[in-house]
């Protein structure tokens, strides 16, 4: 069966705690921010935005929107602009694979990405002395001058594949491949799975009536869906003229 890994993020369940952001950074060997880092120059492959319905006072409602690489399936913008072919849509899994080591740092992909989900290494990674012992061996450390983004915790997919191969199996056990953000969420707001498998809970959630995708009208066919029963949250999917502010991180 075809495999298309994707996620459904339930905005009604997200409390904005930030556990997914920290777990993602730890899994991917993202260095702690330099003293000069800002929300624009930081590296946050998982980034949670605070959004609101634009009203003030009693009528104001807020929610949280975790944003990660949307794993665009159709005419993936970053793939089409990269001069180095440093990013590729994997035909086998649907994951948009970023190869920082191949990147030359032109940042064209950062311009192309409609979701601002790509991050540039402005500085060489630096950890306090000795902390490199705590680095995850499954993910290579990037040097400055390259772009990185969420790879759907590919190291965990590798581990699942290796475990399956050692046991003589062809297919991985889905329980062995759980991205860090999905695992970390205290309210289980993120459902991860194979969107191409009709029986998969993620696939079913993506097809529910409350599901929506950000900027769907661009036609990039993102594989990260959102879900909410609140109409004002669903309305955030498309920017509207005359619409209220959406606070960016």
């Amino acid at each position: 069966m075809k495999t298309r890994y994707g996620m459904v993020i339930d905005v009604d369940r997200c409390t904005g705690c930030g556990a997914c952001m920290v777990a993602c950074a730890a899994e991917n060997n993202v260095p702690p921010g330099s003293p000069r880092v800002t929300p624009r120059t930081g590296i946050t492959p998982m980034l949670v935005h605070k959004v609101s319905n634009g009203a003030d006072g009693e009528g104001r409602r807020e929610a949280f929107l975790p944003v990660t690489c949307m794993q665009c399936e159709h005419e993936t913008p970053c793939v089409s602009v990269c001069p180095q072919q440093a990013v590729q849509l994997d035909p086998a899994t649907g994951i948009v694979m970023q190869m920082p080591q191949r990147c030359l740092g032109c940042r064209y992909c950062m311009t192309a990405c409609p979701y601002h989900a790509r991050y540039f290494n402005w500085w060489d990674p630096a950890w306090p002395q000795g902390m490199e012992k705590s680095l995850n061996p499954g993910v290579a450390v990037r040097m400055r001058g390259v772009v990185e983004k969420c790879n759907l915790c590919h190291a965990r997919l590798h581990a699942a594949q290796e475990k399956a191969a050692a046991a003589g199996k062809r297919e991985i056990n889905p329980h062995d491949y759980v991205p860090a953000c999905v695992e970390a969420c205290p309210t289980r707001a993120i459902t991860f799975g194979n969107l191409a498998d009709e029986k998969d809970p993620a696939s079913q959630a993506a097809r529910s009536p409350e599901a929506f995708r950000l900027l769907a009208r661009l036609g990039t066919e993102p594989k990260v869906y959102y879900r909410s029963t609140r109409p004002w949250v669903r309305a955030l999917a498309e920017p509207d003229t005359g619409r209220k502010e959406v606070q960016h991180g």
């Binding site: 694979m97 290579a140 590919h154 590798h158 290796e162 050692a166």
Partner: protein, 194 residues
């Protein structure tokens, strides 16, 4: 022959000589392993007959690679022979609880992910297909390191031109690609990288 063509030819031949003979010698420097381990000694005497007796796959699929000290310590907690390399192992490493700092011939960069489990179990490759018959040798093998890149000579292969290589010689990305192409196995970038 004109003076010009002689001079040119002289330079040409000098370059050829330097490029083919002096350059490979200068590019690589030999390093000694911390001790002279001999595979054959183990194969004959202690019944260690398979590669996987020491270089094994763990339960979660990870490959043990160069065995850790506790594998060696299973037999060598104290000296069981008379050789000098064993004395070095026992006194300098096992007794002090330190891992032996082996120089790894097939060490790949950190951004490479190679799964022994997939290649051994799914592809059915034998150790010698990539690593040669080193496991049957009774001579310790020289470790030559490239001065510029810092990697073992085994990655490029012994032959400086990469012509007429032995089937197992070379572990560069192009070598992996050749085999994958031959067997029509397509993997994306992150299929081998991390």
């Amino acid at each position: 022959m004109s003076r010009r063509s002689v001079t040119f030819g002289f330079g040409f031949l000098a370059a050829l000589a330097v490029g083919w003979f002096a350059f490979p010698r200068a590019l690589y420097v030999q390093r000694a392993q911390p001790l002279e381990f001999r595979h054959k000694t183990h194969a004959g005497k202690s019944g260690v007959t398979q590669c996987s007796d020491c270089h094994a796959l763990r339960e979660d699929g990870e490959f043990a690679g160069i065995p850790r000290m506790d594998t060696c310590a299973a037999c060598h907690t104290d000296r069981i022979g008379t050789s000098e390399p064993e004395a070095t192992l026992v006194d300098n490493y096992i007794k002090k609880g330190q891992e032996t700092p082996w120089l790894v011939y097939s060490r790949q960069p950190a951004n490479v992910w190679f799964s022994h489990a997939i290649h051994m179990r799914r592809a059915g490759l034998k150790c010698a297909e990539c690593h040669g018959t080193y496991g049957e040798s009774d001579q310790p093998r020289a470790y030559q390191v490239n001065r510029i890149s810092g990697y073992s000579r085994d990655i490029w292969g012994r032959s400086i031109s990469r012509f007429r290589r032995a089937p197992h010689e070379g572990m560069k990305m192009s070598d992996c690609e050749d085999c994958h192409r031959k067997r029509s196995i397509e993997v994306g970038c992150l299929g081998c990288h991390q």
